[in-house]
C-alpha cells in the first residue's frame, strides 16, 4: 500500500544513497529529504561534483595515485626527491603521508594488500608495475613500505622485497615505517605487542 503513493524520484535517490558505505535506508531517506529542502543550486552542485569526480579523475600512469592528468602533480613535481619511493595501500594513505610534511619523495599506490581470504592476490595489485618501475629507473635508491602493520601488510612487503631482490640492478635500500608507541599516547594504554616491539626497536636517545 505504501509503495503506491511513493515518488519514484525519491525512491530512486534513496536507493542510490543507501548504496554508500555506512548509509542505511533510514539515513538515505533523511539525506534525500535534506537535499530536497536545500537550495536547488547546492543540491545540483553535489550531484555534479559526484559525476565530475567519477568521469574525469584518472590514475597516475606512474604511481597510480588519483590525478586529473596522465601523470599526477607529485610525480611531475621536479622538486620532489625522485630517489625515494613510498609504497602505500591506498590513495588515502598518500594524503595521510603528505599531511605529515615529513616526506618529499614519490609514491606508489598498490591499491590494497595481498589477502588470500578476500581473494586479493599479487596480480590484482600494482605490484608488477612497482617492480618494473624500480627495474627501469636507476635513480630509485630507497623503497619505503608504508603499509598497515598487519599480517597482510607484512606479507605484501615481503613479497615485493623478494621481487625487488631478483632484479638485475643494484638492490635499493628497503625500509618500513617505525613501529612503537604512538606519540602522545600513555604507555598504560599501549598494547603489549606494540610496546614489546618498541623495546626491541629502541632508538638512541637524543636531546630532540
Amino acid at each position: 500500500m505504501e509503495q503506491e503513493y511513493e515518488s519514484q524520484l525519491l525512491e530512486n535517490a534513496v536507493t542510490e544513497l543507501s548504496r554508500l558505505p555506512g548509509v542505511g535506508r533510514k539515513t538515505a531517506l533523511r539525506l534525500a529529504l535534506y537535499l530536497l529542502r536545500r537550495d536547488l543550486g547546492e543540491s545540483l552542485a553535489l550531484g555534479n561534483a559526484i559525476i565530475d569526480l567519477r568521469r574525469n579523475i584518472k590514475y597516475c600512469r606512474s604511481c597510480h595515485n588519483i590525478s586529473e592528468q596522465d601523470v599526477c602533480p607529485i610525480c611531475s613535481d621536479e622538486s620532489r626527491d625522485r630517489s625515494t619511493v613510498c609504497v602505500v595501500e591506498t590513495v588515502r594513505d598518500v594524503l595521510s603521508v603528505e599531511r605529515t610534511a615529513s616526506f618529499r619523495g614519490l609514491y606508489h599506490v598498490l591499491g590494497g594488500v595481498i589477502s588470500p581470504i578476500d581473494g586479493i592476490g599479487p596480480g590484482s595489485l600494482e605490484i608488477d608495475s612497482l617492480v618494473q618501475r624500480v627495474a627501469a629507473d636507476d635513480t630509485v635508491q630507497e623503497v619505503i613500505f608504508a603499509l598497515s602493520p598487519t599480517m597482510e601488510g607484512d606479507t605484501t612487503a615481503y613479497y615485493i622485497f623478494r621481487k625487488l631482490s631478483e632484479l638485475d640492478r643494484p638492490m635499493p635500500a628497503v625500509t618500513r615505517l617505525a613501529r612503537g608507541v604512538a606519540v602522545g599516547n600513555e604507555l598504560e594504554y599501549t598494547d603489549e605487542l606494540t610496546l614489546g616491539r618498541s623495546i626491541v626497536d629502541r632508538q638512541p636517545f637524543t636531546s630532540i
Copy 2:
C-alpha cells in the same frame, strides 16, 4: 603544502559531500574515494538521482507533500477519505503515518512547527493554506494534529485551532494523536510525564 597536490575534482566532491548532515570531512573523503572505486555506472547513477530528485520533484498544490505532479497521488486518489485531514510537520511524517496503514484520509504538511527560538513563525509554515483549505472545503469534517508532543508542536496546534475556530463555517472536529506508553515498551522505562499522561488519558478496557 598539502593543497598544492590535491585534485580539485576530489576536493570539490569532498566539500559538497561534507555539506550533508552528519557527514564530516573525513567521512566525505571516505565516500568520495568509495565513489571512485565503484563502477562508473553506479557512481553516475547516484549523481543523476540527486540531480533528478532536486530538479523534478514538486510540492503538492493542496497538501504540500512531495510529488511529481501538481497534485500528489494521495490527494488525487478518489478512494481516500476526503473528510479527514491529518496535519503533519514534514514529508517524512507522511511516510510514517502511511506506513501504519491506519489512516485513509488526506494530509497537510506544515513544513515544521512554530519555534520563535529558531526564527520560525506561523508565516514561514503552510498554516494559512491549511486554514484556507478548510474554509473553502465543507467536506472536511475532522482535522487531526499529528505533531510532535513538544512545546512547539502544542503551540502550533493551538495556533491553528484558534484560526480554524474563527472561520465562517461549522467548526470541524479537531483531534490530536493519543499520548501514552509505547506499544511493547516496559513501564519501567517510560518517562514520568508520558506515564502520568497515560493515566490521565486512560481508556475503557476492551477485550481487543
